[in-house]
């Protein structure tokens, strides 16, 4: 009885460990490959404040660079 309970607990731990590992691996891959760059561009764009963003947009749209 105790052997069965022990092996059952062992199986549950093993399954949880596997689930945790797979989940961590998937989340790590998505974080490095997809989320990281999105945060990177947001940080780069807004790092110097909204003023730079609006200035860039105004400059590109309404004030063409003088030749």
């Amino acid at each position: 009885m105790s052997v069965t309970a022990g092996s059952l607990r062992h199986q549950v731990i093993k399954r949880r460990l596997l689930r945790g590992t797979l989940l961590a691996l998937a989340l790590f891959y998505v974080a490095v490959l997809l989320v990281g760059p999105v945060i990177g561009i947001g940080w780069k764009a807004l790092g110097s404040g909204f003023g730079v963003v609006s200035e860039t947009l105004q400059y590109q749209t309404f004030k063409p660079r003088p030749s």
Partner: protein, 276 residues
């Protein structure tokens, strides 16, 4: 009263009509542009192609494109399947968000992908500087090219494998467990054979997409001949230098490789695996 056109004739007209529309659409949209590119590139035999390949960095560009495309297909075959498995089989907080994030590359223009990768892994960012300190340079290297291709092609594998995995009958796995097989054996002998055609199909899509990727690569790679210049960027450079024949010749080589590989794999691999 008998109908003016007998039903059998009407059905036949309908069938041929639909078939003709499909053929005309496919011909105009796919076959015609391809034949024009082939005619332009190989109009005078292989001379134009030889001239294009004599340009500095041409062979290296094609080699780099093939190597990175194969690596992309293999890496994303593994991680794409893993992601699909996690999304289908596990219930956890943020699962919906993760599923949406997987589709990001479909929504983001590829040029923006290149800018994003430079923003996070470029020498001006803290992460880029930290990686460089550790001896790993991502931006403007082959690794950067690989990163961009992995980013762009990930959803192809995930979204091909995911529906097949959700359609799998759990009874087969339960039967395997009840016969005493462990988790790994069940995955290897029951789940994986059923998923294999989808994994191969998704990887092929990823490979074909990686072979032609331009937008993200042109930003992240810095296009250094013999180092980080890829074939699609090389084709663009040829076209910009007003050498459309040479551009067409290299483009023909690229899509021929892709087409032959896809055709071969579809014909032999998927059919064989599907019949098992």
């Amino acid at each position: 009263m008998a109908p003016a056109i007998p039903r059998r004739v009407g059905t036949r007209i309908g069938k041929w009509g639909l078939r003709s529309i499909a053929i005309v659409y496919l011909g105009g949209l796919v076959a015609l542009p391809i034949s024009v590119v082939v005619a332009k590139g190989f109009g005078d035999g292989f001379q134009t192609f030889r001239d294009a390949m004599a340009s500095p960095g041409a062979t290296a560009a094609i080699k780099l494109t093939l190597i990175t495309a194969v690596l992309t297909a293999v890496i994303n075959a593994f991680f794409g399947t893993l992601l699909a498995f996690v999304l289908v089989r596990y219930r956890f907080w943020g699962r919906g968000l993760l599923s949406s994030i997987v589709d990001l590359p479909f929504a983001i223009p590829t040029l923006v992908t290149g800018v994003m990768l430079v923003a996070i892994y470029g020498p001006a960012s803290p992460i880029g500087r930290w990686l460089e300190g550790a001896g790993i340079q991502v931006a403007f290297t082959t690794l950067g090219v690989l990163f961009a291709l992995l980013f762009v092609t990930l959803p192809f594998v995930v979204r091909t494998v995911q529906p097949v995995l959700s359609e799998l009958d759990p009874a087969e796995e339960e039967a395997s467990f009840s016969l005493g097989a462990g988790g790994w054996t069940t995955f290897r002998k029951v789940v994986l054979p059923a998923l294999r055609p989808a994994i191969v199909g998704g990887s092929l899509l990823a490979f074909a997409r990686a072979l032609g990727e331009f937008g993200s690569i042109v930003i992240i790679s810095a296009n250094i001949p013999n180092k980080t210049l890829t074939a699609p960027v090389f084709v663009f450079q040829l076209a910009s230098r007003f050498e459309p024949e040479q551009a067409a010749a290299v483009a023909t080589l690229l899509f021929s490789i892709s087409f032959v590989l896809v055709l071969f794999t579809e014909r032999f691999l998927i059919r064989r695996l599907g019949s098992k």
